[in-house]
Symmetry: C2
Subunit: 226 residues, 2 copies
């Protein structure tokens, strides 16, 4: 079979990493732990956040919302009465398919860092480029919906490797799908052996307490590692 190699622009990624380190220093200085939340479009990131952040007792959380267009998710999360800042990546044409460190940097002045313990950055829905661009985060979560099929870890390996936690969402739909969850998990282990995983349903709330507990522990883990 025919295969094309595409060069990765190493210089652009180096520049991104330099800015990501500057972001990280700003977050560290304010004692803010940062989670980069990634998934394909429609995997349920926002609904998961709506439910998990509502359960975060004693952790002051905020959200930076990345979208090509609109502020639909930011408007939804604002109802939680937490700080939410919208970053739009579209500029008249199709827009950027991911957040990069410089975009996040431009949003830092709008973030009330002194009032936060935890910042969740909800990335643009995409299984490729968000995994390539660090933005200054301490941890990365990727959300995978069971409706997307068993093969996604094999087709988008970097995304499933570049995270500390894989949240498998929409498990309430399993009785209505042909999906073999064991095969999905085996494919996950093939690209990221033993990575922590949670099976949840943002719709029914199943497993959301586990995700909330994980998020609540991020600030402590970051302090302990400092």
């Amino acid at each position: 079979m025919h295969r094309t190699k595409v060069k990765v622009v190493a210089d652009a990624l180096d520049a991104n990493n330099t800015i990501a380190r500057a972001n990280r220093e700003d977050f560290d200085r304010h004692g803010v732990a940062v989670v980069n939340l990634m998934s394909a479009p429609g995997a349920g990131k926002t609904r998961l956040l709506e439910r998990a952040l509502a359960e975060l007792d004693g952790v002051r959380a905020g959200v930076l919302e990345g979208d090509v267009a609109g502020s639909f998710d930011a408007d939804r999360l604002s109802l939680l009465h937490i700080p939410v800042v919208q970053l739009n990546t579209g500029a008249g044409f199709g827009g950027e398919c991911h957040l990069d460190a410089n975009m996040v940097r431009s949003a830092i002045p709008s973030l009330p860092l002194a009032d936060l313990d935890l910042l969740v950055i909800e990335n643009v829905g995409n299984l490729v480029c968000p995994a390539e661009f660090r933005v200054g985060e301490n941890a990365r979560i990727m959300v995978c919906s069971v409706t997307e099929g068993e093969d996604k870890p094999l087709k988008y390996p970097l995304m499933f490797r570049a995270c500390e936690l894989v949240v498998i969402n929409k498990i309430d739909l399993l009785p209505h799908l042909d999906l073999d969850v064991e095969r999905l998990l085996a494919n996950l282990d093939a690209v990221h052996p033993g990575v922590q995983r949670m099976l949840v349903s943002a719709r029914t709330g199943d497993g959301v307490d586990e995700l909330a507990a994980w998020l609540a522990e991020v600030p402590g883990r970051v302090r302990a590692a400092a």
Copy 2:
């Protein structure tokens, strides 16, 4: 709310369009009509193709499969005994999130154009960049799964505008979702008024005959327009 503008690299898109025109000339010369098939990851493009291409009587079809990694979809479609060529966009790192005209150009020598009436190019699963890069196609279809939510046309407007047909897949799951289909269709009309749409289920086969009929007519429409 804070918003960041990101510059679109107009020169790169101009260069892409030049190569896309060269691809189109090659396809035209061989009388091959080309459809660019796009969607988010896991929306069901391959399963739809498996079913729709099996129903294409009298049209010699082939597929160019775009994926970051692997040849899972190409292997599945090969079972239809049609020409299938795999293009991989990953090169050791995360890979490219879309096909561009140059990648497709590099695959043309591997395609048996003289033996085809219709070439379907299955793009990388992504709702942003594939819409920005023409590859030499005559028509574009985007597949949207009902599991992705009602808001996707508003959040990824270029993708829903840059196509002649929107296929709304997985309607067999509607009884198990909170989705309001009328609202999804209204959001679609808000960004692309009146665009042709089909409600289908690749799993049950509902509506697949309509998609197959649409695909079967593409070569005739291209010839009529020439």
